[in-house]
Amino acid sequence: MKKFKELPIGKKLLYLSLATRISVLLLISFFAAMNIFLNYKSGYNSARLVSLSSGPLAGGLYWMMDGFLSLFGNSATILQSSGGMTWSIRIFGFPFTDPVAAMSFFIKNRSFETGFFLGLAVPVTLAAVFGRVFCSYICPASLLFFFTSRIRRLIEPYFFLPRISLSSGFAWGMLFGGLLTAYFFGHGIWTLILPYFAMGQVIFHGIAFGTISAVMLSIIFYALLDLFLGQQFTCRYVCPTGRLLGFIGKRAFVSVRRDPASCLPKCNSCAEVCPMGVSPRMDETVNCTLCGECMVICPGNCLKPGQRDTTKNISDRILKELITFKQKTQNTLKETAEEK
């Protein structure tokens, strides 16, 4: 087992993204299970009584939680300052709000709720600086789709699986259609449109009430789309949040950066592996989620996260490409001359 520091940057990002997504999943599960602890706290307020009523495991967990949290104050009030799920979450009183939730709320009420809209600050800044990092570092549904895309890669040689590509307009349409439907039928419609919201609901129902939510059907539907229509189909073409964050992060400061000098000609592996359908080979950075898949696969080791390439003009890019090509040919000519 290699040490984490010695790993190439792409693998580091890949492992980091998996770790953060799993920890977000655990955080949501913890928030769903929080009222169990609060119930014991308000009901018994004693680890011994909890272990007598619900067994030593519950008693031990209660003892650890209460002991740890009471270092900082009243454990119930500390826990009650956090809560929610990916849709709108509060961590120690600090709110984080989904931009789509804020849009839906604003359209329906035409009023501002200070705390709720303050929660937009961090996600929007994050998207503006790093691009769509929400999709590969926070979204718990993309963790599921990560595994479905791996399964798809495994079974692809044996079955015919189509690769359908849509334009980005479909997700924009989903956003406007969703807002329209939410305006007439209530915000609940987003559970069926956004897989991560549905996932939060399913986790909440499963842990807090011990029931399976029917919203599970929408997650299964999106996972099947992923499996049969294309790698990460939902994230690419359906998810309105991803589209919106991609739009905000169009001019992201940090993105995948190509070193043209070591880029191999005729190699297209980065574009083939990219779950978002981006081609880093062509210096495309819109929609890049910094997941690190291309950096792992790149044989020339030329892709790294870095400051976004700001040469916008295609002619500039072609000129750059030509200059590097000229240098490469000159180098090879020199080498052959030396060999002679």
């Binding site: 928030f31 769903a32 929080m34 009222n35 169990i36 609060l38 119930n39 706290k41 308000s42 119930a76 009650q80 809560g83 929610g84 799920m85 849709w87 709108s88 979450i89 509060r90 939730a101 839906s104 709320f105 329906k108 009420n109 709720e113 705390g115 709720f116 929660g119 849509l166 334009s167 307009g169 479909f170 997700a171 924009w172 349409g173 989903m174 956003l175 406007f176 259609g177 969703g178 329209l180 439907t181 007439f184 039928f185 209530g186 915000h187 609940g188 419609i189 987003w190 559970t191 069926l192 449109i193 919201f197 609901q201 909440f204 129902h205 807090a208 009430f209 939510s213 029917a214 919203v215």
Partner: protein, 197 residues
Amino acid sequence: MKRKTFIHTILGGAAAPLFFPFLGYLLPQTNKRYLRPPGAKKENEFINACIGCGSCASVCPNKCIELYGLEGGISNIATPKINARAKGCILCMACTNACPTGALKKIESTKKGKASVRMGKAYIATDICYSYAGRTCGVCYRACPLPGLALSVDLYEVPKVNLKHCVGCGLCENACIHMPQAIRIIPDAELEMRNAG
């Protein structure tokens, strides 16, 4: 990408979510109305403001706040409900402080604040209540957070609801020893509908 196909995909994407509300008609639904958490706005305003983040349910120390699945119709998905027969609200007001969107108005956890809550009203089925049949019970009176104000008792501990003071927390319905319950909370939303016609 041709401009025409781009516009077509936008229209296709916009049309897709419009089919979801019809799911609500396909799936079985209950007409039973449940209580909303304390401090909730009027029903239609509440539906507009609640985005279904589940903060209220995760901070509830009594585990009485549940979230709707698909059974309550499309507009109710992920919104909170309280099934008073299973568990009543203990009026701790943690949920009103947790709500990010103001769907639940903030209420202070004082005696005055608790008395200002309006979740519903209690109604007694006098034909099945034990105390009305001359067998002293008084369980609902003991459970009431505002005894003497919202629920007063008479001879044989016969309960009487004072609708002016009843907050509709559901603790009496939760505690009632008769099966089915002899005291019931009618949610504010249903009362509004009845008053409207």
